[in-house]
Each structure stands twice: as structure tokens, then as C-alpha cells.
Amino acid sequence: MTSRAANIKAQIGDLPSHARVVVVDVSDVPVMAAELTDDKIQVLWEEPIQRVITELQNAHAAGCTRMVVVTPLIGMSGAAGYSAQSAVAEAARVVVKSAARQWGKEGIVVNAVALESRAYGFDELVAGPVSIAPRAMTRDVSAKGIVQWLCSDAAGDVTGQTFIVDGGSWM
């Protein structure tokens, strides 16, 4: 796991035993599409998305009933120089919906948190702005609060959703 993904996971802290958080782990190094060799596609797309799918399968096998996938917001916004990483991010966000639809009848809820670029270290000058409007908040933000809530009993009726934590850029 990259240090940034590990840091995001550490910030979230301990979770109930029936809960599992999957932090999408992608490189913060931009690679233009014309320069994506097969080796780079393998490292930047194939391996990270397979990790997400496998972690969700493992959580299911372990009997978890609350699952949250934390994924970079660039899956929703797109990002120049990060086409492979954005593909992972959006695929992770949507496999959550498949999981929610498929596992709902087992009492399992699965949701996604889309986290802003700065938490993942993407170069925003390369990637481009997420929104036409500036970020509403000035302080740093964390996925901790929303993930903890999604793993609580209070969130048991919420599934297949994406919660954006980006200080109010994407609206």
C-alpha cells in the first residue's frame, strides 16, 4: 500500500468487527495516455482494481455487513495525466453499486466515499480542476467521520451511495 493510502486508512481509525473499509490505492504519478505502456497499464489499472475487487470478496467471505470503499474523486471528474488511475477510481465506485445490489438481500450494505485529489497527492495543475467553482472550504478534510457513520447502525438503510468528501468542490 502506498503511504498516502495507508495514511487515509490510518486517519479513519478502528472500525467495528462487522465493518471493512477498502481504500483504493493508486499512484500519484501522472502518465499521459500516449505513454501508457502495457507494463504501466498493468501497474496503474489492472493491479489496483483487482485489489479492490478481491478485498470486497474477502470482506464478504469474512461475514462483514458494512463495507465502505474510499476512492479518489478523479473517477467522477476525470483528470488529465491520470486516465488509468481515474479508471480505477470510477470502477471501484461502481463495483460498490454492483455489490450493494447483489448483497443487499443478505443484509449487507456497501457504500463509497469519493475523496478529494489532495488526499491522494495528485498534481492538480496537471489533472485540471474538479469543478468550475472554487473549493468552498479552506481547511483539510478527512474521510473518517463519514466512514465511521457508514459503518454504524445509523446508516443501515443506506446502500450503493457515493459520499463526496472534498471540501465542497464537486457539487
Binding site: 495516455a33 501508457l36 470478496q57 467471505a61 481515474s86 470502477a91 461502481v94 453499486k97 454492483s98
Partner: protein, 266 residues
Amino acid sequence: MTTHTGTRLQNRVAIVTGAGQGVGEGIARRLAEEGATVILAARRAETGEPVAEAIRAAGGIAECIVTDVAKGESVQHCVDETVRRHGRLDIVVHNAFSGAVPHLLHEASMEKNWKLMSKTGVWACFFCARSAYPHLQESSRRSPGEGGGRLILITSPSGVEGSANIALYSPAKAAERAIAKSLAREWGPQGITVNCIAPVAGSPALAIAFERNPDLKDAIEARTPLGRVGDITKDIGSVALFLASDDSSYVTGQTIVCDGGSFLGL
């Protein structure tokens, strides 16, 4: 079949992957109707050649180049051969996709259920992008501000909504939308547009689904405001034509859901 009398894509050269049947065939036919030279990149000549022949018989210009989109060198060959024969490449439509068979997420195997969808869907997007990029850039240089390089990716409403029945189909299709947005940003300064179409149309894949589930057709028509399944040429091909033509020169990074109004969640 409609005769080839239109001129909106005259002198443009297009590659359509997976053009031997279904949505790809419909798009190839529609682009050819409007004057494009269409290269049908089909995995099997048995499917690609008859479509090319039908287009030629109706007065269009079409050739089949056998292409396995899961292999980067095969995509590169298709692009190189297209440019060698026709001197340019303006439009790439990546439609080919294989492996979308029903499976449960918790039972899915990376080798059996995921690999083919990832390769033909997502890897192939990257292959098409990297091989076509210099030619799409050149196309935009020839006609700045209007009809330039075009990359069109065929995704699915399932790539937005998720799927309970084909769980890993959805993330593969979602990835294509994200790639389109990222490339729209990356290639916008070069005048290349990148968009997606999310169709529901009478394709062979849908015909198989109807066979498996006889109630599915009625169910789709009942939930669709326009009350029918889309036609591959008239309904889906025409949207591809819009995205390939000068009419869409200020549209990029978008997904047009072309499903008769069934999905209204964007």
C-alpha cells in the same frame, strides 16, 4: 439499407472496433452513410467482411481489418494499416467488448470473469488511445476549431448504475467513462474530443439475454418511456454520427445515455 448519400463525414476516416455485429455494425453503417471511409476492426473476418461488403454494396467505403482489441500490437497494426491505406485517421469508435456473462461478485474469478472484460473493454481503450493519438492530433490540426480528432467509447447504463447480475461488467464500463473524461481534459488542448455513448439496443448480446429470459424484452419496453429497444443504426449510429461530426465540436468528456429514457439518473 440506406444508400450512402450524406456528406457530413466526407473525407474522414474512421475505425470502429467490434463492427462485425450489433452496436458496432450499426455505428459503422451510419458513419458510412454520411461519407466516412470506415475500417471495421473485427476479431473475425467472417463477421467483419460481410458488413463491409454490405456497406460497399450500398455505395459506401468500408474495409475489414481483422483486429484483436485485447492485444496492443493488433490495435497498433489496425491503426498503422488504416493510415497506410487511407492517409489519415480522424475518428475511432471503441465498441468491442467480450466476457459479459452472468456471475456473482463473491464467486467471480479474476481469470474467468474479469480478465476478458478488462482486456477488451479497458485495456483496449488505452490501446486505441495511444495508437490513435498522433493521428487524431493531426486530424485536429487540419481543421482547427471544428471537425477534428474524435474518440468515442461505447459504455453502458450498467457502468453508471451497477449490476446485480453481471457484477464486474459495471466497473469495466465505468472505467471507460472515467477514461473518456480524463482524455477529454488531456487532449482538449489539441482539439480532440472524447465522449461516451451508453446504449440499449437490439444487439446479439441482448438477443441472447432475451433467449435466457423471455420476459426481459417486455420488462425493458415497459420501463422505457419510448417503449422500445433501440435500433443499432438509426438510434445508436446516429448518436455516434453526431459525436463524430462537426456538430459536436464543443462537446467533450460527456456520456450520452441512449436508451429510450430508461435511465434518467445523470
